[in-house]
């Protein structure tokens, strides 16, 4: 079971500079555990208190995972996952 995961610039310190890595998992949650096993430290940048961080966007086949079950989103062989930090800020 191989799933391509696109890694944003800011997290490439965990993947030795790679823009995309291969990982496995039947759900986003297990996929992130598999990423962590090979790229220690990355999980903490994605998850906070058991939930996806508010300002991290994850897409499965171009769908924002927040609309398809969040960490429980199901994955299958050949899916493509994209991680993108939100572009956000403001005076507040």
């Amino acid at each position: 079971m191989a799933i391509e995961v696109k890694i944003p610039t800011i997290l490439r310190t965990y993947t030795g500079g790679e823009k995309a890595v291969s990982a496995e998992g039947a759900s986003l949650s297990t996929l992130i555990d598999d990423l962590e096993a090979n790229h220690a430290g990355i999980k903490d940048r994605l998850i906070d208190n058991g939930d996806l961080r508010r300002f991290v966007n994850v897409y499965v086949n171009d769908e924002d995972v927040r609309f398809i079950g969040g960490l429980q989103a199901e994955l299958k062989d050949g899916d493509s996952v994209v991680i993108l930090p939100a572009v956000a800020g403001g005076a507040r």
Partner: protein, 155 residues
């Protein structure tokens, strides 16, 4: 100490921007006042050339916060990826405070190679008149202001 030395990839201490792009950012900020305006200027990866101006919708629609819509964000990054581009400038406006990165701006900055441009529209709002236009590097929570050089066209 050079800005961006944390990543060691690019050490520009100046933002060079052409007049048309500068004007487009200012016009967007004035038009959206009192809400914050946001967008990027993309350029070839590693070139530090701000070539392609892209206005984004502020999904937060707020005078104190901005956020790219998540679907627009994915579209934007896929497009840049296909064109071997990266965000050279990430811009947004502050509409009641100075053009300096807030704690939120610093905490959420996630493009270590980008110039973070802030425009303040607090003086003249939607009207004609000068704005504060400033540029920063934000890397690992550290803010370094840089000079802004406006040129007629990028050489």
């Amino acid at each position: 100490m050079q800005p961006g030395s944390g990543t060691g990839t690019r050490l520009a201490t100046v933002l060079t921007i052409d007049q048309a792009t500068y004007d487009a950012i200012v016009a967007h900020a004035k038009r959206d006042h009192p809400d914050e305006a946001c967008g990027i200027v993309a350029g070839p990866e590693g070139s530090d050339r701000a070539e392609r101006f892209i206005e984004m919708v502020n999904a937060a629609g707020s005078p104190t916060f901005y956020e790219f819509d998540s679907t627009d964000l994915l579209q934007l990054y896929k497009e840049m990826d296909a064109r071997d581009e990266e965000p050279v400038i990430v811009y947004h406006s502050h509409t009641a405070t100075e053009a300096y990165p807030s704690r939120t701006d610093i905490g959420l900055a996630s493009e270590p190679h980008a110039h973070y441009v802030l425009v303040s529209t607090r003086e003249h709002g939607n009207n004609e008149g000068p704005v504060e236009f400033r540029s920063y590097r934000i890397v690992d929570g550290e803010v370094t202001e840089e000079e802004v050089t406006v040129v007629a066209t990028l050489s």
